[in-house]
Symmetry: C2
Subunit: 697 residues, 2 copies
């Protein structure tokens, strides 16, 4: 209902309609008239009687008929007044064009808060404030002060930045790219990118959803909605905004590495959103998705009339997820039957510079018929003999018949213009360079692959939550936010993690005694609530083989720690058995302000510190995603075992990640958790050291 009234209203009132040409309140009326909005238009102006030939009302109240949508372009205080009247008059949808809200500072932010409250009380849903408005090319509604109206098309677009709307609109008008809906979100006080994902997801005129985002408020809902929508339609987005990591205090590697950029990357990946880096990419991808079917596989053939561009395209394929397919002998034989002897019938298929359109026609037919080819990229350089338009017609003809995607790069400008326009008009995307065609096709294949996978299913993990609650409560009461190692371990053990046998020793005699009851070699570690990185202060000594060595190590730790961190409270030294692990890993989570719990996985030690070779997901995740996290890091081959080393128990690692996943969901007050090292063995895992931080209240 909201959507109907917002995008296809039967009547529109413009609060703040103006008689002065060039004023926003005037352009709003003019845009409705100019682009032939078929519904009723009620301009509201307290003084004027007529604007652009329309009868003008002095106030919203004066209108006796029903109004579906109010477009509001008055001062902030009057906006508030207008929203109240909307409520009284049962106007359920509004677009607040006006600026002067939170973007201007504290006073504006207060107005905005009031606007939000008032609208809720009065049951008015609204777009903006501080926006350009919206355009629906099918209902012929140009409810914006934009300088133009795009053609009808299958792309739905929303943008958080009005300026990007303006720039993109100006560009697409020149490029003649069609849109279904074009929406400026403004400050997103009420209607947000989430509502627009739902709206465009349901809109039958929209085949591809594009967005420009700077931030997301409700991360969890965003992911959930985007996941559902992107199963139906491709969502392609630009996410702008400098990462803000490093600004806040962090007490773990997970915290240090998990910037908001990591969270967005994870969120987009998990919800199947295709990320574009630039506006150019955004539309390059959009045109492919809007017009061509998805490839069933990654196998590409390249058809070209010249070597250079063919090589460029082959290079790009080589660096992508696509495969430059090896033509089978049947295909090669068919091509050989009509191509000149100097033509190249390996892939790229080079039908050489004197090719006329019929050679393109025959070759394209053969390639599309081959069962081991999933997509064809057609390249053309404007040689002396080429008929560009005829070739375009031939390509469009095949594109209409085949179920395989065809993407083109007819290179050049003057000579290829007519052919390129013909291609565009017939739904075959054309790109300035071969690399762009390859990149768009790669995204299509990635989407096909994503669609073929079921969404990851989350299963709850067993845990002794009562015990955890008790321990957290104790720490809170004592005003401690960093839990002690012992507390952290107990909490993690409640989630099924196991630790090596450990005893706390307060004296060197205790330490020797404890060591004797275990299996050598032994590890000693200082225990203190004030020391996070024990190794850095000389608080860890490994590989002790005899009681004598344990005794000496105890003294050395005490000496070094008291030198380096004289103020630290020392509870003693923990005595542990050493583990025969395959690899040292690190698992943890932190909380992202927009997306919530952000899980991290990486190989431990220098891999995390120097190479930052880690992966992220937003909880909740299922086992498939936990495994993906593990396989995603660059050093994954080390876990599979290289040079005769045994493979690590990757499944147990995934279970560990899932247990943290569960803990993050169960206890929102745990803001950071890290197990480092988390040792993976050939069978099972064992946690060695852990850090937990809870929220300051």
């Amino acid at each position: 209902m909201l959507l109907r009234k917002l995008f296809n209203p039967k009547s529109v009132a413009i609060v703040g309609a103006s008689t002065h040409e060039g004023k926003i309140g005037h352009i709003l009326v003019k845009n409705l008239l100019k682009y032939e909005y078929p519904g009723k238009i009620f301009p509201i102006n307290p003084k004027a009687n007529e604007i652009l030939g329309l009868r003008t009302y002095h106030s919203l109240k004066e209108i006796s008929e029903a109004v579906d949508l109010a477009i509001i372009a008055v001062k902030p205080l009057e906006v508030l007044e207008s929203i109240k009247i909307c409520g009284e008059k049962n106007i359920e949808a509004a677009i607040v064009i006006s600026a002067g809200f939170k973007e201007t500072g504290a006073k504006g932010a207060r107005f905005e808060q009031e606007l939000k409250t008032l609208a809720k009380e009065n049951k008015v849903r609204f777009l903006g404030p501080n926006c350009l408005g919206l355009i629906d090319t099918y209902s012929k509604l140009n409810a914006s002060f934009a300088a133009g109206m795009p053609e009808q098309g299958e792309i739905g677009f929303f943008s958080q930045s009005g300026a990007m709307c303006v720039a993109i609109l100006d560009w697409v008008l020149g490029e003649k790219i069609g849109f279904s809906k074009f929406i400026s979100l403004g400050n997103k006080t009420d209607i947000s990118e989430i509502d627009m994902l739902i709206a465009l997801g349901e809109d039958e005129n929209t085949k591809v959803i594009l967005g420009y985002l700077e931030g997301v408020e409700n991360g969890a809902t965003f992911i959930q909605v985007a996941q559902e929508v992107s199963k139906k339609k491709p969502i392609i987005m630009i996410k702008a905004g400098v990462t803000s990591a490093g600004a806040r205090a962090v007490s773990s590697h997970t915290g240090a590495l998990a910037g908001s950029e990591s969270a967005y990357q994870a969120a987009f990946k998990q919800s199947g959103i295709i990320r574009a880096k630039t506006v150019n990419e955004l539309f390059n991808y959009a045109l492919a998705f809007a017009n061509q079917p998805l490839p069933k596989g990654p196998r590409v053939a390249i058809l070209t009339n010249s070597g250079g561009p063919g090589i460029v395209a082959a290079d790009a394929c080589d660096q992508s997820a696509l495969q430059l397919v090896r033509l089978n002998s049947k295909t090669a034989q068919k091509l050989r039957s009509f191509l000149p002897p100097v033509a190249s019938i390996v892939n790229p298929v080079d039908i050489i510079g004197d090719a006329h359109f019929d050679r393109y026609d025959n070759a394209l037919k053969v390639l599309l018929e081959a069962s081991n080819i999933d997509a064809v990229i057609v390249l053309l350089t404007p040689t002396a003999t080429i008929e560009v338009e005829e070739t375009a017609k031939v390509v469009a003809k095949h594109a209409q018949k085949t179920k395989k995607p065809i993407l083109c790069s007819f290179m050049g400008q003057l000579q290829v213009k007519k052919g390129v326009n013909y291609l565009k008009k017939h739904g075959v995307p054309n790109y300035l360079c071969p690399e762009d065609a390859v990149s768009a096709l790669e995204r299509m294949w990635q989407r096909q692959h994503w669609l073929s996978q079921p969404l990851s299913t989350y299963f709850p993990v067993q845990a002794d939550r009562g015990r955890v609650r008790y321990l957290l409560e104790m720490a809170k009461r004592q005003g401690r936010f960093h839990l002690t190692e012992t507390e952290a371990k107990e909490i993690l053990m409640a989630y099924g993690f196991s630790f090596p046998q450990t005893k706390l020793a307060r004296t060197k005699e205790d330490a020797v005694e404890a060591a004797k009851s275990m299996k050598f070699p032994i590890v000693l570690k200082v225990v203190s609530p004030n020391i996070s990185h024990k190794t850095d202060v000389g608080g860890v000594i490994l590989g002790l083989e005899t009681p004598q060595e344990v005794e000496e190590a105890f003294e050395e730790i005490m000496l070094k720690v008291s030198e380096k961190v004289p103020k630290a409270a020392i509870y003693g030294v923990s005595v542990q058995e050493m583990i025969q692990e395959v690899k040292e890993t690190i698992i943890g989570f932190t909380r992202d302000s927009q997306f919530g719990p952000l899980l991290m996985f990486g190989l431990g030690g220098i891999y995390v510190e120097v190479l930052k070779d880690v992966s992220f997901r937003i909880a909740p995740i299922g086992k498939r995603e936990a495994l993906e996290m593990i396989r995603e890091i660059k050093t994954y081959p080390l876990l599979r075992g290289i040079r005769g080393e045994p493979p690590a128990d990757v499944s147990a690692l995934a279970e560990g990640i899932l247990a943290l996943n569960q803990m993050a969901l169960d206890f929102p007050e745990i803001v950071e958790a890290e197990i480092n090292p988390f040792l993976v063995k050939t069978k099972g895992c064992i946690a060695v050291d852990a850090r937990l931080t809870i929220k300051k209240e």
Copy 2:
């Protein structure tokens, strides 16, 4: 002289001039006439008397006047004949347009070889064959069958692919980009990219050199020439061509990792060539270099009339070598004095959507005056109130006065068109998206940085070359191409490398005896000419603490190796002291078919194998470049020492690389060398294991 005759001939003969419109031999004459070539034109056609109003000659011989340049477009056999006549008539420069040479197969390749020999005998230098010809916009020479002539400009361009010439020419004609020279290299049988680098380097009309390359024949000369030329002018290149690594057999990590792509990357880096990935990038960079001064430093200010694009530009800076400068208080104060309160005076400076051109004017003035700002990027979105053309004028005015580079992104198309054209006409490059402006500016800063560094100086390294020569000779005589470990070590010792004390043991008794004469712990390694990766077959055992352990280890090695490589000839087991190293590294070289000796450096073990974290340079290099190789790898922090570890002796590592550098130059028959591991200590390095391969003859 060659260049004068090629690019600015006083007279031109066209061998193969045709009366038939559309034929290449006709277009060649037409292009000379159409673009007003001022010199004499002699069309050669055995039958016709007149072509396009020009008197026609039946043969080159018939011309009595002097001819500077012959353009040849006849069949391959006739090309050979024509070159002979050129020699007789003292015509020193030719352009061979004709195809039908090595690109068509073995027969064509024979023609091409003959052409090369004949031309040399007859002292004729020639471009092509199989090329489009060349264009010089200043001498008004269009000696090509291209469909157009670019405007005069400061870009010199050459391309190995004729198709890329055609496509790019068509595109630049549309974009109205000016050129000085435009050259199609064709098969490069005589005149190559090296000649063109020299020519364009000397050409006073050329400010920027662009190239499209698929391969280089004489790598060493290419680097040397490019180094000299790029100290004078920027060289920007696309290198296309799928990497061919993996195709040849390799016996070391160095060999496995050193593909032709690595060689090109190293060559471009060493010679200051800026690499473009796409045609788009090629011209984005070219326009910046052709029109704007280089920035003195990396500090950028962004000026914008809207938030979104500002954020996009800031993101891009953040991911580049540029720095988004923090405005000092003086600059901020000046800006504050005239900007509205809601404007943002942090960087990006957002003068907000209602900005007129005067606000751009004032703000740009302030930013250019600030001593801590090296460059300004000006962004504009076509808001309702903006005057695009006036703003363009203001920007161009400042650009003319300042010594700092200004790059623009006036976003959109229809509304910004006039302003963008004004900018272009006045030498201010404009980019479709802010990211492209950032990327171009980053390349300018990188060039400035490169120019500020002296070329690396190579100093010869002392070595006992006589001993090396003897050892290589011995191996060759015995028909061995993989040297034994002992030989390899001796050769490397002749170059100053030291190895840990080592004795060869044939029996376990020998091994124990040898170990006793050394310092425990001890390492045992199998010695066999047939085993490359000793660890993989159980041929290495480390950390032996007692004679007893040495004895057992000897037996274990013999057992395992005989199981896994039953056919290997076993010379015995080497007994070594273990080294207390800081880090394990790997140094080596292989020979690239185009560039010669390709040096490699990386951290040893899994860093090389899994992460492929290595760096390359082409020999000869100097110490600065050796140090750069070391600092370039991602894991370099490990060598500096993290977490309290001592720093490694990086200088000694560099000396090691330089010794291999010298060996690669001294002995061309050594095709692969690798020291792995090459242990670096806090002071000095020690080689442990080495592999050398010599050329099969």
